[in-house]
Amino acid sequence: MMNKPLATIVSAGCSKFGKRKGVMARELLVEAFEEALSRSKDPDIRGKIKIGIFGNFSEYFEHQAHVAPIFSDWLGFHNLPSVRVEDACASGSAALRMGILAINSGLYDVALVAGVEKMNNRTTTEVTDALMSASDIAVEQWSGLTFVGVFALMATAHMHKYGTTEEDLALVAVKNHRNAYYNPKAHMQKIITVEDALKSRVIAWPLKLYDCSLVTDGAACLILAKPEIARKFTDMPINIIGSGHANDHSAITEREDITSIPGIKIAAREALEQANIKIDDVDVFELHDCFTIAEIIAYEELGFTEKGKGGKLIEQGETDLNGSFPSNPSGGLKAKGHPVGATGIAQIYELYLQLRGEAGQRQVKGAKKGLAQNMGGSGLTHFVTVLEAEK
């Protein structure tokens, strides 16, 4: 039986992703917000928005804390209650989750949820340091384990235990680059081969440059409304029918099995139960491929295949656009790019396009239900969101 939607997406926008020299985070948000305003059939949707919730990871990149009131000011609001939420790479989904709570509680009729990160002001070493701050200072950081390193530990063990190969990892990158080629907003629209990926330089063995998501500047936003009033703003509402949120131990040393990320499964179960559907009922997926191994483990945790067989699934092409579990049509974090705080919202933006049939050459045919999986830190914070196009 269909439950009432938790909230409805009535509009959405996304900036061009890339190395956006010459613009600041707030200006990237303006770019995304202008698109969202232009998509609304109510020209005064701005006046209906009564709260702004912003996902943003690090004040280090622009040396700017206290961003929420600055962002809403720059978006042209006066006296809009605004708040920043931070959950590392899942900051965007955390903002969405808070937006869902704001609407579903009945406190607000219309909410703006957005995410942004402007990362390319800093050097690679500085970005490495900043990202690393999302892992536990008392454990991972102090050992010299970088953020890539955390996922490299998972990859080494997965390869040893299940026979997953470096080629399997490369295939994830190849697929996501192929999809991004058809996404004009992607950071990199460049087809790559398995050989390109395998011969790229090592970052944290066994992970190479092409196993890693991009350091990207970008912003995305959604306008949420109570389901009952959604049609005032759009003729094609996208309903949020499931929202799962889970946490794991703070350090990877506490995780029983380094080849698993159990929080994904827990968050997915919650979201799918709310939506009252099974994973096989979902037509299109946006997954958190911060590193290629993370997408392979996500296949297993979400139940696309058995534990240990994620590598086989990519070999068989089952997660291609025309496969049984089309994953990351946007190009994913890998090729669309990973502006940390924006990612969770940008995943939903892609599903919004897919479910409205607006995704152009990367469209998954006839997609009606979509699922986004977004992760923060070394697998500590998990959000899974299920969307459905309203009939």
């Binding site: 070493t125 340091d129 102090w142 050992s143 010299g144 970088t146 080494t156 944290a204 990877i252």
Partner: protein, 126 residues
């Protein structure tokens, strides 16, 4: 052993060359770094328990792009070690030939010789 169960106390004990975990008095669960509230049974009664230095490598990576603090050490390995007592630690090493899953290793503690916070020691392997 009367010191309070804190991360700072864990690292200052480690500085003297000995590795201590916290152990839940009620269920026996060991924790590294030590913590007061047991993550299994939620008891708040914990004590210090000295650990040996032997374990096996459960996984490893070789870091080529480091954070600033470890720039001078690249390439270096970081391994996830399961100690004989059944809990895990991370250790950094430049002896890359030792890095093999299932390899038996001995944990070694070295003073980081730092004058700012955190002045915690580092874990490596012998």
């Amino acid at each position: 052993m009367s010191e309070e169960i804190t991360i700072e106390n864990f690292y200052s004990k480690a500085k003297s060359g000995k590795l201590f975990a916290s152990q839940c008095i009620d269920c026996g669960k060991l924790s590294l770094p030590p913590r007061k509230i047991c993550p299994v049974c939620y008891s708040t009664k914990a004590t210090w328990r000295e650990l040996g230095n032997e374990g096996i490598i459960e996984s490893f990576t070789i870091i080529h792009v480091p954070p600033k603090r470890f720039e001078h050490e690249v390439p270096y390995g970081v391994c996830l070690i399961e100690l004989n007592e059944g809990i895990k630690v991370l250790a950094r090493t430049t002896m890359l030939e030792k890095l093999k899953i299932g390899q038996k290793v001995k944990l070694k503690i070295i003073d980081a010789q730092r004058n700012e916070w955190p002045d915690w020691p580092y874990f490596t392997i012998e």
